[in-house]
């Protein structure tokens, strides 16, 4: 049973050049992208966990060294186009602190750092394709040199699926945020349903953290699934 990566419906993906996001017009290729047949080179699977180390699944901290902000649990699940869980998938997650500041030399936003918050984790999915991260809810922040563009609270995900072409880098958004409606990055996804799937689901639950569930679908499926 061969694993394949079918073409995607363009409407479920972002356009390359996005209005309101100036850098896209300097960086997205002007020439049409070339089609190619997929062989073993594209449909075999890298194992990044042989080079990259996993970290703890807690960015919120413990005791006196707790990060400031609303405590949240992000429960993400990685599946492929058949809905099959990608067990052992490596998942990188990063986000800014509750004030909207990243620990990064390129972040010029005049917001305070939080000495107890380090905003990056690298996790391995369990047998059901799940990762769970305890962290704090990221803040919104203004994008420099724009006319009032604020990024809504969001969490970055970088995920490996089963094969080279399954690689997925995306962002998770929070439900009910007014800035979601105005964000050029989220709204670059043309299909409203595909856009809605980029927003996490709030799950009411007892405990000291708000719980959000998020599904990530990486590219690829078993060819036999095409058969009636």
């Amino acid at each position: 049973m061969a694993y394949t990566v079918p073409r995607r419906d363009a409407r479920t993906q972002s356009g390359g050049v996005v209005e309101g996001y100036a850098q896209t017009a300097l960086r997205w290729p002007a020439q049409p992208l070339a089609r190619r047949a997929h062989g073993l080179s594209e449909l075999s699977g890298p194992e990044p966990s042989r080079r990259l180390k996993a970290t703890a699944a807690d960015l919120a901290g413990q005791g006196a060294r707790r990060a400031l902000g609303q405590l949240i649990d992000v429960r993400a699940r990685i599946v492929d186009e058949d809905g099959a869980p990608v067990s052992g998938a490596m998942v990188e997650i990063w986000h800014c602190n509750a004030a909207g500041k990243y620990i990064h030399p390129n972040d010029s936003n005049d917001a305070p750092e939080d000495p107890n918050f380090y905003g990056a984790a690298r996790l391995l999915a369990d047998a059901a394709g799940r990762v769970e991260l305890r962290t704090i809810k990221p803040g919104a922040y203004p994008v420099p040199d724009t006319d009032g563009w604020w990024r809504p609270p969001h969490i970055h995900f970088s995920v490996w699926g089963r094969v080279w072409l399954s690689r997925l880098v995306t962002q998770m958004f929070f439900p009910g945020e007014p800035l979601n409606e105005r964000d050029p990055i989220l709204n670059a996804v043309r299909d409203p349903q595909a856009r809605a799937r980029c927003i996490a689901r709030f799950v009411p639950q007892a405990g000291n953290a708000l719980v959000y569930e998020y599904n990530l679908v990486v590219r690829g499926r078993n060819a036999a699934a095409e058969l009636p």
Partner: protein, 166 residues
């Protein structure tokens, strides 16, 4: 079976943790084969070199195998402030009717989706390379020394690197 629609890709953004991009660009250590170094600059439409671009590669081992338990054909590098990246690896073998090549994936702020391309060592017959016709030259690396290759990437503009729509 219900078809699940792949999640929309979004930009890596400008704040990918620098330490995540570090320490994974040497595939040659302990590997069997001819060690090589690949370096290049990544520039945008106006020619400006780009800092902190994340590049990932995937390649066969020296025998053209993708499932070698003693060789991890995946690596990651990031550009410095001059737009330059470096990989140390081994020269891949030919596989399944394909000329030796290294798959490249580019992630960056302002790129709404990953860009896929491939680096070749020469114009040996290869269906993917030949399909690009006159643009195929841009995917053949320049030999700069005994084991050193240059593979520059221009995201957009004159001499733009060919990228694939998968």
């Amino acid at each position: 079976m219900t078809r699940h629609v792949p999640t929309a890709e979004m930009t890596l953004g400008p704040f990918f943790p620098r330490e995540f991009a570090a320490g994974a660009n040497d595939l040659a250590a302990g590997a069997q084969g001819e060690p090589i170094e690949i370096t290049g600059r990544v520039v945008q439409a106006d020619g400006r070199a780009l800092d902190n671009v994340v590049l990932e590669i995937w390649q066969a081992d020296a025998e053209g195998r993708f499932d070698n338990p003693t060789f991890c054909g995946w690596g990651r590098a990031a550009t410095d402030s001059t737009g330059t990246y470096v990989f140390r690896t081994i020269r891949p073998g030919a596989s399944q009717g394909r000329a030796p090549h290294i798959n490249f994936l580019i992630l960056y702020s302002g790129l709404m989706r990953q860009l896929q391309t491939a680096m070749y060592f020469d114009h040996s017959p290869d269906p993917v390379l030949e399909n690009l016709k006159e643009r195929s030259d841009r995917l053949v690396a320049k030999k700069e020394g005994v084991n050193r290759y240059r593979f520059d990437i221009r995201l957009r503009g004159e001499g733009e690197t060919p990228f694939f729509d998968d």
